[in-house]
Symmetry: C2
Subunit: 389 residues, 2 copies
Amino acid sequence: MTVMKNQYQKQANREYQEKQKLAESISRYYRDKLRELNLKDFSRIKAYLESYLPEGNPLISREIIFAHLDFEPFTSFLAEDKEFTVVSGLNPSSPLHLGHKVLFDLLLFLQKLGANIYIPVTNDESYLDGKVASLSESRRIAYEEIIPSIIAFGFNPKKTKIFVLSDYPDIYNFAVQISKYVTNRYVSAIFGEGALDNSGKAFYRSAIQLAQILLPQLAEFGGVKQSLIPVGIDQHPYILLARDVAKKMKFIPPSELVFKFQNSLLNPFEKMSGSKPKTAIYLTDSPEDIRSKIQKAYTGSVSILDAHKRLGGIPEACSVFSLLYFHHPDNQYVDTIYCRYKKGDIRMDELKKITSDFIIEIVEKHKKAKEKVGNIDEFLLNKPLRSFL
Amino acid sequence: MTVMKNQYQKQANREYQEKQKLAESISRYYRDKLRELNLKDFSRIKAYLESYLPEGNPLISREIIFAHLDFEPFTSFLAEDKEFTVVSGLNPSSPLHLGHKVLFDLLLFLQKLGANIYIPVTNDESYLDGKVASLSESRRIAYEEIIPSIIAFGFNPKKTKIFVLSDYPDIYNFAVQISKYVTNRYVSAIFGEGALDNSGKAFYRSAIQLAQILLPQLAEFGGVKQSLIPVGIDQHPYILLARDVAKKMKFIPPSELVFKFQNSLLNPFEKMSGSKPKTAIYLTDSPEDIRSKIQKAYTGSVSILDAHKRLGGIPEACSVFSLLYFHHPDNQYVDTIYCRYKKGDIRMDELKKITSDFIIEIVEKHKKAKEKVGNIDEFLLNKPLRSFL
């Protein structure tokens, strides 16, 4: 009996150590990337920004926004109560999921601070990357699913311009002009040879994507200006390329704000991905789906309850806890759960239950808000691009 | 004195032989290309076509149209008096020249036989290839210069659709879909590595250009149909690529009609080029310019008059004679000049004089017709492309 018990204990210890390593590699990943890519730590700006946030914001306080390039001018805009410009797009290949919600929480937060927001919905990219069978399919997803879902977050139509790429082909002319500043050699150095598989992909990566980022600096939108691009760390190469081309074309290099990935349900080291349904909770999932997905999620707790109580859990390596961490608005509540989890004071089935309840609540709330979305036209960007450079 | 005379004679003989070689290489060039590219000789179709042409057409009778791929279906359309579809574009980097006139004479001839003609004016290509400093410059040239000049040839507005690429960006969506069927590997094999210098060029060559060619087969224009693309032999690779992609996309591979180059004024083995002003007579040139350019042109006649009388001239190696050959409507007149020139019965200064007079006459006539062109809108293609595939 003792032998068996020892064996279980050893196994639990091993399991715990593995999860600890995972947590460390996640934290190391962000630390290393920050250094490797010459990004700036957001902590100093964080303190400054919090003075503008009497009610606080979890994205800031929990360091989900963790790095930046050239954010400084925006602190002046805040001080002077000036409007500023933000661009952030997405790929319409599946309904929005909780990873998108992190981005839209961030955009909404920036809009409350004064941002005019441009949201390209890149159905050309979805199609070129083979994430959908046809351009029209991703166009349908964009209008029926993505745009109402975005609007449901509560954006201000006066300060939000959404455009679906296939319905804003004027951007082609701007991209043609941009392409002259980007060699394919450069593109393959940044994105790898695969980016050049076909010329549509290459043109998208090196020109259309940049045209989206630099769009607000065209005369039609008031001309050259400072702009801010919130991205996941994997999109940093686009920003580098955009900054380089911006300089050559006499635009202002866009600033970058980097936020952490919403973890995949199956592996906290990976990101939640719309094209891998098991990794993601969609904002369209039923309560049953959500419970079942959270039930199967990777956790930071060892599988034997006694051992969990003895060793405690590792919230940093837990896809379940990460859902609260990224989405629950109450800092004190999340802190309390964190401590109890770490000490083993909360059982995994309890954590799954309260997380499921919470996520179901926000998803159901989002569904209701989305149902109420009526005419989307006031959010759509229709301004023709006519002033060629 | 005899020694001197002998020396002159020898020199003249050498000159004559060189020009003969040049004439042979021009004729060999077309013969070899025909075989090398697996094109079909146009002579059989020529005989058939002439039965539809009581008044004859120099492009046919002089074999300026010399090769084809899949022209056969069009002979049936003629027999059944059916409309058919032709696409042929051009680069707006300079005013039209006599080389363009050959193409437009051909298009006009096809329109009289029943063709609906699509004319893409590719200012994106002009810009990407560095032929103009900006997209807006080539756009200006397109509207102020090229389009009125095209209309002045006498096209029927009901059967002619002209579009400037930068003002028809809807084509981007079609090109995105096409690009999935063309690998960059294929593009560089066809057009050389240089075609991939930047992604704009590569996307243009492999997708936008094909979108122009396949455009009339979209639902907006009545759906899948046989179409004919008249080209110079250097554009054959585009047709190959378009035919290949058409098959993959379930369009009908476009047919090809190949016409000979209007010779450069400086070298009959090269083609007249709008970006090399000394090689070309523009339809905007003044009578003085035309006289001066023809004065300086390369001829098929040796430089010593006595020797010319003795040896005769070589019209096939003569950039001056080629102007009559490509443009003079009267077969008998051109034949007579040809024979007299070959026998040395016409002096070079005479030939230059009558050619200058004739070219000045047609250019002045074209200028007058162009001045009378009013509103160009009825020729412009505005139909939005909405039915993604």
